[in-house]
């Protein structure tokens, strides 16, 4: 028990004194998660909107693939991306493996289906009269697309927040594509895993608190979005 209390005490001291290593790890995690979310949302939202609004051949196959990707274990996605980014892989020449950009790439692959799927669900749950109203007001296809996204904005924002939460708490992809290199690709989740395996809990606990604070912040945002929606 004393050991646990000591660990908590040291963890708080690390946070209180703005330990440079803790700060660097937190900053990298947030930066990588931010860019992964931006890229995932940039691709996932339009793809989701197109899937929800347009009927075309092969649509159900794409939806099935997206759903499968959502359920795929992150280590499998990490492995797939590793093969792509490794020196002998098709994207090996880009030199992204074991870099923050490589991690962004992997997390983008992880979160894009989430953003797309949640966008499909958000748009499909909209009032059926919306499309008719857009048409009778004389909206062009691009204007209709924008109006639909705008009407689904609360649910779409929730999709982005959920994607961010999934990204920042991810371990497998960050470990496989980042390599957990100290001061370069070490994120909160990879650092917690490493420190725990070494039996040194202070840094792990400190990062765990930050991660929990981020989770609280994200859920708070989601709560506000839902409140606004209702």
């Amino acid at each position: 028990m004393q050991f646990l209390l000591d660990s908590f005490h040291k963890a708080f001291l690390l946070l209180l004194h703005l330990d440079s290593e803790v700060f660097q790890i937190v900053w990298l995690s947030i930066t990588v998660s931010f860019w992964s979310t931006i890229f995932s949302a940039s691709v996932g939202l339009p793809v989701g909107a197109l899937l929800a609004l347009k009927d075309f051949k092969g649509k159900s196959v794409i939806l099935l693939l997206l759903n499968t990707t959502m359920a795929a274990p992150t280590v499998v996605i990490g492995l797939f991306c590793y093969v792509l980014l490794s020196r002998v892989g098709p994207l090996g020449s880009l030199g992204l493996l074991f870099t923050p950009s490589g991690m962004v790439f992997g997390l983008f692959i992880l979160a894009t289906p989430i953003a797309a799927n949640l966008t499909v669900a958000a748009i499909e749950s909209l009032d059926k009269r919306l499309m008719l109203t857009c048409e009778l007001l004389g909206a062009s296809p691009a204007q209709q697309f924008w109006l639909v996204i705008k009407e689904a904005r609360f649910a779409v924002m929730a999709a982005v927040v959920i994607a961010f939460g999934r990204i920042i708490s991810e371990l497998g992809i960050a470990m496989m594509l980042g390599g957990n290199i100290r001061g370069f690709t070490r994120t909160m989740t990879t650092a917690i895993a490493l420190e725990t395996s070494k039996g040194e809990f202070e840094l792990g606990l400190a990062l765990g608190f930050v991660l929990m604070a981020v989770a609280l912040f994200i859920n708070g945002l989601l709560f506000l979005v839902q409140k606004e929606r209702s």
């Binding site: 009032d127 109203t133 009778l136």
Partner: protein, 330 residues
């Protein structure tokens, strides 16, 4: 006078089920036209066709003399304003809702807001600008949607069941609005209604729609049944009609109320399609006397006001004769 719309041999189907088949229909510019028919008769589909929300799968639709083509639908939609029966309001303020169509047409934010405020004034919704749709009553939401349509100032106004679910005062205001749009602004107004009295209060141009077709009379005396005896009899259950002199075929028979011959004494001896019953109501319907009679089925008869009806009274016996020219089979 140039027609706002001209329709020739137009048909439209949903899932191979024909919902609209119109041989010829012209809607004159600056006129008020009522599309009257029962629920599911195809009125709204026709209104959607006039709003360019759908295009005919067959036939020709012209708007102000120019053929309507699928490539120009967005521009055409911007020239007409359709107010649906149950309009949708966007999740934004009332003012934004009214301004949205204007912004889509390229008006600046400032201009659109200014015009939206004018639109709201026309429906007496000043002071509601910053309210959101979820804080409005059904009637208020309907008025906001009306303001949105009015603000667009289209060449043609299309109203789907504008009097539905409205109280008497609101119905009067809607009637006045339609008349003002036509008389003061020379707009073409087309509206649907299943209420003939509402339609006839506003216009003499009533187009009767039944089963997706323009029919010569409002479907008052409508009988469903089947043709029997080698095409000579239409069996509607309680009554049978001799249709040996009728060339049309179908599962519904309509009887034009203005073409029914009637008498309070036994007449029409040896004629087919004579029905005997009693008068159940007599009322005045604009320029005709409406008589309802129970003669196996309930029949509605329209008699000219000038005709001698002094001998008629509720409960009195009546003989009806329905000639071939009074019957339409569809």
């Amino acid at each position: 006078m140039i027609a706002s719309y001209s329709i020739k041999d137009v048909s439209f189907s949903y899932s191979n089920q024909p919902v609209l088949t119109i041989n010829t229909l012209d809607i004159p510019a600056s006129s008020v036209i009522a599309l009257v028919g029962p629920n599911g008769s195809g009125k709204t589909t026709l209104l959607h066709l006039l709003a360019f929300l759908i295009i005919p799968q067959k036939g020709l639709l012209s708007f102000l003399g120019a053929k309507v083509s699928a490539s120009d639908l967005i521009n055409l939609r911007r020239r007409v304003g359709l107010l649906p029966q149950n309009p949708y309001l966007f999740k934004c303020s009332v003012l934004e809702n009214v301004a949205i169509g204007l912004k889509l047409r390229g008006f600046s934010r400032h201009e659109a807001r200014k015009m939206a405020i004018e639109g709201l004034k026309k429906v007496r919704m000043e002071g509601y600008e910053s309210r959101w749709p979820n804080s409005l009553s059904g009637g208020e939401a309907q008025r906001v949607a009306l303001a949105r349509t009015l603000a667009l100032n289209p060449e043609v106004f299309l109203f789907d069941e504008p009097a539905n679910h409205l109280d008497l005062e609101s119905v009067k205001r809607t009637e006045q609005l339609i008349l003002n749009l036509n008389r003061n602004e020379k707009k073409t107004v087309v509206f649907t209604s299943h209420n003939l009295a509402f339609a006839q209060n506003l216009t003499d141009f009533v187009i009767n729609i039944f089963q997706g077709q323009v029919v010569p009379t409002a479907p008052y005396n409508l009988f469903r049944g089947q043709i029997q005896h080698g095409g000579k009899v239409f069996d509607a259950g309680a009554v049978q009609f001799d249709i040996s002199k009728t060339t049309e075929r179908g599962t519904c028979l309509m009887v034009d109320p203005s073409k029914i011959s009637f008498s309070t004494q036994e007449e029409f001896v040896n004629l087919p399609n004579v029905f005997h019953g009693r008068i159940v109501s007599i009322s005045l319907l604009r320029d005709v006397v409406k008589i309802e009679a129970l003669a196996g089925e309930r029949f509605e008869i329209h008699a000219p006001i000038s005709s001698d009806i002094t001998s008629f009274g509720i409960g009195k016996e009546i003989w009806l004769h329905i000639g071939p020219n009074a019957m339409t089979l569809i």
